[in-house]
């Protein structure tokens, strides 16, 4: 099971849950699983979230694989000037 952590700014949308374990093979599956578990998070998932998988940050990478022992952190996407 991959260990999933959510950045603390997402707490209002997950009833305060910031850590969990999920059996997912890629980012798309991760977003799907999270969306099912936390409906209020759905609007944020594909809209504005990026993931760090084992320390590497991915933005808009739905097909990026997630390994069984991966550490995944959900964070806010960055734009810029």
């Amino acid at each position: 099971m991959a260990r999933i952590a959510l950045a603390s700014n997402l707490a209002p949308y997950t009833d305060g849950v910031l850590e969990l374990e999920l059996e997912v093979a890629n980012v798309r599956q991760l977003f799907q699983a999270l969306g099912e578990r936390f409906p209020e998070l759905r609007a944020h998932l594909e809209a504005g979230l990026a993931v760090a998988i084992d320390g590497e940050i991915y933005q808009d990478a739905l097909l990026q694989p997630i390994a069984h022992d991966s550490e995944v952190i959900l964070i806010t996407k960055i734009a810029g000037g």
């Binding site: 991915y58 808009d60 964070i75 734009a79 000037g81």
Partner: protein, 764 residues
Amino acid sequence: MSTMLKYQERELKIVGTRPLRPDGVDKVTGRARFGADYNLPGQLIGKVLRSPHAHARIKSIDTSAAQALPGVKAVVTRDDFAEMPDEYAAVGELMINFRDVTRNMMAREKVLYDGHPLAAVAAVSEAVAREALALIKVEYEVLPHVIDVVEAMQPGAPLLHENQYTAGVKPKPDRPSNVAKRLEYARGDLAAGFNEADLIVEREFNTKPVHQGYIEPQACLASCSEDGQAELWTSTQGHFIVRAQCAKVLQMDVSKIRVTPTEIGGGFGGKNNIYSEALAIALSRKSHRPVKMVMTREEVFRATGPTSGANVKVRIGCTRDGKITAAEAELNFQAGAFPGSSVNQASMCAFTRYDLANVRVVGNDVTVNRPKVAAYRAPGAPIAVFGVESVIDEMAKKLGIDPIEFRLKNAAREGTQTYYGPKLGPIGYIQTLEQARAHPHYSAPLGPNQGRGIATGFWFNIGNETTCSLNLQEDGTLTLMLGTIDVAGGSRASMAMMVAEELGIEFESVRPFVGDTSTLGFNFLTAGSRGTFASGMACVIASRQVIEKLRQRVAKIREVPLEAVAWKDGHARPAGGNVAQFAPMSLAEIAKMAGKTGGTIAGHAEINAQGAGPGFGTHIVDVEVDKQTGSVKILRYTVVQDVGKAIHPAYVEGQLQGGAVQGIGWALNEEYVYGDDGVLQNPGFLDYRVPVASDLPFIDTVIVEVPNPNHPYGVRGCGEVPIIPPLAAIANAIENAIGLRLCQLPFSPPRVLKAIDDAAAAKG
């Protein structure tokens, strides 16, 4: 995803040198064409009617007299644009609330700021268009307005959006608010951290909105044909984003709009969004004539940009020996008329230079009766960092610790856990601090009323969707078509350099240009310091694809196995060993034969670049304060920054110098001044004071290169970081010069003199 290329150390021939930019001659001869330089036969001139009120309900708009004026060919108002739902929709990678986009482009129920568009006309001349605007009758019900961010957050403040309930708050509030969103980042145990502290410093800061101040006003030219195809020329940082937004608000197919980016006369985040573009297409669609729209400078100030003004509270605790034990910040950001300030990014950047166990950052995104804010170079970060780096400096001073030493004691490094999510990869923050400390500037003597300040900055840098196409021409030269706009930094040169380096050919053999939206697939806008990183990655991928095809072609021509063909110095050569010998072929020789041996050779990249490497910088500034007038003079300035790899060092220096000077302007004199009526009082370069040449010294630069492991040349990006440290660096320098901690930007002479006088009065 697997196409991402990793850093490899190797000997370089072109990357790291300083060839001449391909757009240089056009720009010194007046040949380069910017937004307002495009014209079409039969074109009309479009002008916009703007609200004179900060906040008012629109009771009626009567355009009949304007429409009847001879020479007027089209008028558009809110009635010409479809209502959009209040939800976020994807535009490439940006998520945009189109309900707000349509309303910012053209007011619907209410006008929300001085300068808010109400109607647009297209006429045979600018004079007729202006006359027509004067004939449009608008009935307003003027409403109370709110300009200040703290006032706007109070219960009972005039509401901009009656259905806006603060998001991110549990349970959902029962009353609407100007606070569109609250966000919070937390890590560790803040109370315990403050309990451990021997010293706690707490301060409140206020900043004013500042404008990107690009010298070229927004300008575009639209031509819509009877079959619903539209062409648009516009000065933008992201032509694919312009296309997407126009298609959405005009309900057109994306492929039916072709956007050609003109040379862009500065953007800095201010040209990320549409303003007149959709209006121009709508007017052209209605009039069946091309429509040109050029903003005046006054319109630019009243209705585009700026960045947020903010109220910032910072509290930091540390031990006697300077180890930070807890850090807390509250960031209240003006969003302007619609939600969406950069407070989230500001929250993430506030403390991410330090290794902190206990942190909390709260951010509020607050709507006020000002123009909707736009991104501005490292959006939000300078505002938060102004507060944090001021407090850090104060703590170091109170403890008698050198300010660089204090920062080094707490510095983030590879493996540091951030409070917003991931651990940091390899970064060069400590190197910038150490090089700043070793720089002669840091130990140079100072005179009376002079002071030195330092401050540091962090920016994520980003990647995102990127396309390019590299075509080998029949004589062996190459054309490089880029999806990423060269917003001025010289990225066309840098891209061509990387291609030339990969192929082992002369820089001059590669001719780069930016393609229009119909020539390439979607490419993200030039923002967030992504250009050289992401587009560079795409160019390297395309180059390596070309090399692969060249090897395959030569293997066939020379009838040798593929592994026998190596690519070196612009030639296919025998790979060595005893695979097969053959006469080497130059790029030109292969190109000449390409058509007859299978067709022309090209490389493409359509990627979503991942793995951007964060950038850090340390600035040193010396100021002199005239205690009788409050005038602050910048005597000396040094920028030290980790850029990963400087592909073209001169253009990197240019980014560091330009960014630092924008920060200096922000610190000293730039501000939006509103009257009690909510009307902007300084919509021009006379009273919106960007720095002039005589205000400044030379800006020294030190480029640090700690490679980003996720880029073939180690590039991080460099444009954003240099605007972050100047605000606090100058505040710290002023403090060291006159012993006063200034917390209100800008440090304009009246404000500085008042602080000096108040301090003298307090002493008695």
